[in-house]
Every structure is written in structure tokens, then in C-alpha cells.
């Protein structure tokens, strides 16, 4: 009898465990359902062609335009600046940590760099608005108080640890034999790093870049604080812009009643953001999986 009770208990526990694991799928389903539902309502009132091609985004004004291009331009511009900052520094640092640094340096530096990734983004926003922008204004006097340049740079600093840490992992996984072969032919460490290790670890390194980009695209507080709230179709880093994420924050801070078109815009731009980051994450996941299988 007690054996049967025990077996029943095990079954119940197994059921609960399975449900918990399935819950993660419900979350994704929930995200997609919520975004789709409101977006569907949105596109009843706004044509999808206007949404994708109109060059103005003014849903909060009297004369409404619903073109997402200016918001995407803001996201693209800040992300691009972040990438220009983060990729060279992150990759150089990864090569240094993997090929040059001693084990002691590596074990000391890696957790220290992870602190950079642990800092709340609102802190980076403060840093961008009140320290980096004034400093940049000394170099570029015509830089406006809100701009894409400063939050872009700060976002770049934020994603350096992602790129350096993941790239370093990928390079570390390259078999020693490949390096030894190159050394035997008389290569320097730098030549081994750039011509053997980096190409061999390429898919892992690319995965880290894409993950960094995805993080920059979805980053919210830094741009909401320091980039301004003026959606404009420009690639000029000196003027105020608005990103997709910053727009969602702007609407959320106001008192927008449920069911209005303004309320639905945040879901429509949200789904666009979700699709972009989902695509990037999937590519990164696939690349990482591939590099894991290689060696």
C-alpha cells in the first residue's frame, strides 16, 4: 500500500515538474498572443503599408502619422554607434585574455568585467546624460543635450563584457594543436591569434557580436534618458532621436487610456522589436550550437 502511495506521489511530482517546464512555452505563447492581439486591432485602423513606409511618427499629435521608420532609424543609429565602440574593444580584449594573459589575470579580470554587465541600465543612462554628453560637448560644441552619440557610446561600453566574454569562451575552445602547428611554423602570438584562432572560433565570435547587437537593439533606459524623445528619420548622431524602446517608455509614462490607438501603437512597435531581436537571438543560438559541435 505504502509503495502505491509513494508511486502516486512520484507521479504527481513528475506532473508538476513537467508543467513547470512547459510554463516557459506558455510565456512565449503569452507574449505572442498579447502582442498579436493589440497589433491586430492597431492594423484595423492603420494600414500596414503606412506603418512600414511613412516617414513620420506622430501618434501623440493632432495630425497623426504612423510610420515606424523614424523609430527604427533611432534604434539603428544608436545600435550602430554601440557596435562601433564595442566590437573592436571587445574582440581585442578577448584575444588578449585568451592568447596573451596568464591564467591568474584571466581569472581576476573576467568576473570584474562581468560587474559592468550587472550595473542597472538606469545608472548607465545617468552616466550618458550627465557625464558623457557634457564631455562630448567640449569636443563637439554643436552636440545637443539629447543625442544619439552619447547613449550609443555608453551602450557600447555596456555590451563590451558580453562580446569579450563570449568571444573568449569561443577562442578558448579552439584546440591547442591548431595553435602549436602555427607556432611550429614560426608564427608570432598575434599571427596565431588573427590567422588561426579567430577564424577557427569564428562562429562563436559572430554569435557574441549578434548577441551584443540584440542587447543594444532592446536596450531601453539608456536611450530613454539620454537620446531624447523626437522621432526623426536621420543618421545624424548629434541631434535628438527616439528609439523603438524609448517610445514605449514615453507612452507608458503618460496616462494613455486602454483601447485607444495611442495605446495600441506600443504593441505594434513592440512586436516589430520582438521580431528583430528574436531573429538575432535565433541566429546567435544557431551559431553557438554550431561552434560547440565543431570541436
Amino acid at each position: 500500500m505504502s509503495k502505491q502511495i509513494r508511486r502516486l506521489k512520484e507521479r504527481l511530482i513528475e506532473g508538476a515538474l513537467l508543467l513547470s517546464a512547459l510554463f516557459s512555452i506558455f510565456i512565449t505563447a503569452g507574449i505572442i498572443a498579447v502582442l498579436f492581439f493589440e497589433t491586430f486591432e492597431f492594423f484595423k485602423e492603420v494600414s500596414i503599408i503606412e506603418f512600414l513606409t511613412d516617414t513620420q511618427w506622430t501618434p501623440l499629435f493632432a495630425e497623426k502619422h504612423f510610420g515606424i521608420l523614424p523609430l527604427f532609424a533611432g534604434t539603428l543609429l544608436t545600435t550602430l554607434i554601440a557596435v562601433i565602440v564595442a566590437i573592436p574593444i571587445g574582440l581585442t580584449s578577448a584575444i588578449y585574455l585568451s592568447e596573451y594573459a596568464s591564467d591568474r589575470v584571466r581569472t581576476a579580470v573576467k568576473p570584474a568585467l562581468e560587474i559592468l554587465a550587472a550595473i542597472p541600465t538606469v545608472v548607465y543612462g545617468y552616466f550618458a546624460l550627465l557625464l558623457v554628453t557634457p564631455a562630448l560637448q567640449m569636443i563637439f560644441p554643436d552636440l545637443s543635450g539629447f543625442n544619439a552619440l552619447s547613449p550609443g557610446i555608453v551602450m557600447g561600453i555596456m555590451i563590451i563584457p558580453i562580446i569579450s566574454s563570449l568571444s573568449e569562451d569561443a577562442m578558448h575552445a579552439v584546440p591547442m594543436g591548431l595553435r602549436e602547428g602555427a607556432y611550429a611554423l614560426g608564427s608570432t602570438r598575434l599571427q596565431v591569434a588573427t590567422r588561426v584562432v579567430v577564424p577557427a572560433a569564428f562562429s562563436g565570435i559572430a554569435a557574441s557580436f549578434i548577441l551584443g547587437i540584440s542587447r543594444a537593439v532592446g536596450e531601453t533606459m539608456i536611450v530613454a534618458i539620454a537620446a531624447g524623445q523626437q522621432p526623426r528619420l536621420t543618421m545624424n548622431p548629434f541631434v535628438p532621436v527616439e528609439t523603438v524602446t524609448a517610445y514605449i517608455v514615453q507612452v507608458s509614462l503618460g496616462d494613455t487610456p486602454t483601447g485607444t490607438i495611442e495605446y495600441r501603437t506600443i504593441f505594434a512597435v513592440g512586436i516589430s522589436l520582438f521580431v528583430v531581436t528574436f531573429g538575432l537571438n535565433m541566429i546567435s543560438y544557431w551559431l553557438r550550437k554550431r561552434f560547440r559541435e565543431e570541436y
Binding site: 509513494r6 512520484e10 511530482i13 508538476a16 515538474l17 513547470s20 517546464a21 510554463f23 516557459s24 512555452i25 510565456i27 507574449i31 498579447v34 493589440e38 574593444i89 581585442t92 580584449s93 588578449y96 596573451y100 594573459a101 579580470v109 568576473p111 568585467l113 562581468e114 560587474i115 550587472a118 550595473i119 542597472p120 541600465t121 538606469v122 545608472v123 545617468y126 552616466f127 550627465l130 557625464l131 561600453i157 563590451i160 569579450s164 608570432t188 598575434l190 591569434a193 532592446g218 531601453t220 533606459m221 530613454a224 534618458i225 524602446t245 514605449i248 517608455v249 507608458s252 486602454t258 506600443i266 513592440g270 522589436l273 531581436t277 528574436f278 538575432l280 537571438n281 535565433m282 543560438y285
Partner: protein, 298 residues
């Protein structure tokens, strides 16, 4: 210079460039901390922790913000930790290779990369609107719990995976069932790793701003959620779960986005408090990991 010498010169100069690139992040971190200490240390004091926000920068404080943060953190942990650990046990110990397992794994990896503001939209649509929980503490905590769930699952799985199979086999040999083995052998052995993951997940949650703004946490709150402990029978109240709230990072954001310069000092002081919490949690996590890795040799 011949080619060989040039290569050697490149090699040794890269040593310096690489070292500098690695340190640049830490140098910026140092600048950031010094700047914030200069701006905000003067505002820190008893009054700062016991005052509500105010129109006057000198009188403003973080009372509603830090109490809101405590509420949200406790509830987020209560929701996310059991669910995350159970999902991890399922995936590590019970799942067989199948399309469903595969789907769940890809899905969790993807959820870990979804921007936090998307979780805010989910919370807004699901908890605030559909479930009519309004802009309450419970809506915020549920949203953050979903946000950190993938982190808890991934780190718990890693901790469970590190437990050698021989421990399970010994337990089975003594007649234990699968669940008894997990409950009495695997989980206790994996506990330090699980704790590390939970603390890191909570340190992520404590700094999250965007999703809570999206679900409509208020930026100016001069009251507290109803206390969970009451003086009348039954001495416990759940009323606070349904009250509006703010949290520390939102209060900081509010102060940063004010035009008056006086509030920047308040923001900096708030950041000092937030950074101390974040660094402390990370330090504890690193310490547990370090202590554990020294103690046990399988």
C-alpha cells in the same frame, strides 16, 4: 625593419593594446563610481531613507521606492524560484530527448534574450488588463518573475549538471526512488550553485526599470503599499499586493529626467544605494561559488 622584426613588434604592441582594451571597461567603471559618489554622497543620510519624494530636491527621499523594491523582490523570488527550480529538474533529470524537450530548450534560450521591455508589454496586456490586477505590486512582481525565470532555469540546470552521476547511482543502489534521489542527494549537493544563480537573477531584477514603467508603476508615489502585518486578527494582510507602487530604479529615472539640477543629486544618491545592493548581491554570489569550488572535489 625586416618582416620578421615587424611581426614581433606588432606582437608586443598588441600585448599593450589588448591589456588597455581589457582595462578600459574597468577604468570607465571607476570614473562612473567616482562621479556618482561626488554627486550623490552628500544627499545620503537618515532623512533620505525616511522621506517620500518631494517637489523640493533637498527634502526628497526614497522611502516609497525602497519599500516598493523590497515588496517586489520578495514576491518575485517567491514566484520565480520554485517554478524555475522545478523546470530545471524536469529538463535535467526527467526529460528524454524529444521534439518537445528540444522546443523547450530553444524557447528558454530565446526567452533569456528577449528585451526586458517586451516582458513589460506582456505584463501590461496579461496581468494589468486581462487579469485586471491593475498597476499593482503583484502585477510588477509577476512580470519580473517571468523576466528572471529563464536565468533561474539556466543556472539551476548548470548546477544540477555538475553533480556527478555516481552520487545518483549510489542513492538508487540503496533503494531510493528517483524523486528521493533528487530531493535528498542531487538538490542539496547543487544548492550552492542554485543559490548563486538565484542571487544573480534577483540582482538583475532589482535594477530593472523599463518593464515596470511599461506595466504602469508610478513615478511619483507618496504612500506605501498596505503593510502585510496588521494589529488585528488575522494579523496578516494581502491588501498590499494590490496597491500601486514604485521602485528604486524608477525613482532614479524620475529624478534624472527632471529639468531641475537639484534632483540630479537625489538621483546620484539613489544610484549609490542601488549600486551597493547590486554589488553586494554579486559579491555574495561570487563568494558562494568560490567557497563551494574549493570545498568539494568530486
Amino acid at each position: 625593419m625586416n618582416r620578421n622584426k615587424l611581426s614581433k613588434w606588432f606582437d608586443s604592441s598588441f600585448y599593450i593594446i589588448g591589456f588597455a582594451s581589457t582595462l578600459i571597461g574597468l577604468a570607465i567603471l571607476a570614473v562612473l563610481i567616482i562621479d556618482i559618489l561626488i554627486d550623490g554622497a552628500g544627499r545620503l543620510g537618515w532623512q533620505f531613507f525616511t522621506s517620500y519624494p518631494s517637489r523640493k530636491p533637498e527634502a526628497a527621499g526614497i522611502l516609497s521606492a525602497w519599500i516598493g523594491t523590497v515588496w517586489i523582490m520578495v514576491l518575485t523570488a517567491l514566484l520565480a524560484v520554485p517554478l524555475g527550480i522545478m523546470a530545471a529538474i524536469q529538463l535535467e533529470e526527467y526529460s528524454k530527448k524529444s521534439w518537445l524537450t528540444n522546443l523547450i530548450e530553444i524557447n528558454i534560450a530565446n526567452l533569456a534574450g528577449v528585451p526586458s521591455i517586451i516582458y513589460g508589454l506582456l505584463g501590461l496586456g496579461l496581468f494589468v488588463r486581462v487579469m485586471s490586477l491593475e498597476r499593482s505590486v503583484i502585477s510588477g512582481a509577476a512580470t519580473l518573475a517571468i523576466l528572471v525565470l529563464p536565468i533561474v532555469i539556466l543556472s539551476t540546470r548548470e548546477a544540477i549538471r555538475a553533480i556527478p552521476f555516481s552520487i545518483r547511482e549510489a542513492s538508487y543502489a540503496l533503494g531510493a526512488t528517483k524523486w528521493q534521489t533528487i530531493r535528498h542527494q542531487v538538490l542539496p549537493a547543487a544548492l550552492p550553485g542554485i543559490m548563486t544563480g538565484i542571487i544573480l537573477a534577483m540582482s538583475r531584477a532589482v535594477g530593472e526599470t523599463a518593464p515596470l514603467i511599461t506595466i504602469g508603476a508610478l513615478t511619483y508615489v507618496a504612500f506605501l503599499p498596505a503593510s502585510p502585518i496588521t494589529y488585528e486578527f488575522p494579523f496578516i494582510s494581502f491588501q498590499g499586493l494590490f496597491d500601486p507602487f514604485t521602485v528604486l530604479p524608477i525613482q532614479i529615472f524620475n529624478w534624472v529626467s527632471r529639468p531641475q539640477k537639484g534632483f540630479f543629486a537625489d538621483a546620484a544618491a539613489g544610484i549609490i544605494v542601488l549600486l551597493i545592493i547590486t554589488f553586494l548581491m554579486n559579491a555574495i554570489a561570487v563568494w558562494i561559488r568560490h567557497k563551494h569550488s574549493k570545498k568539494i572535489r568530486w
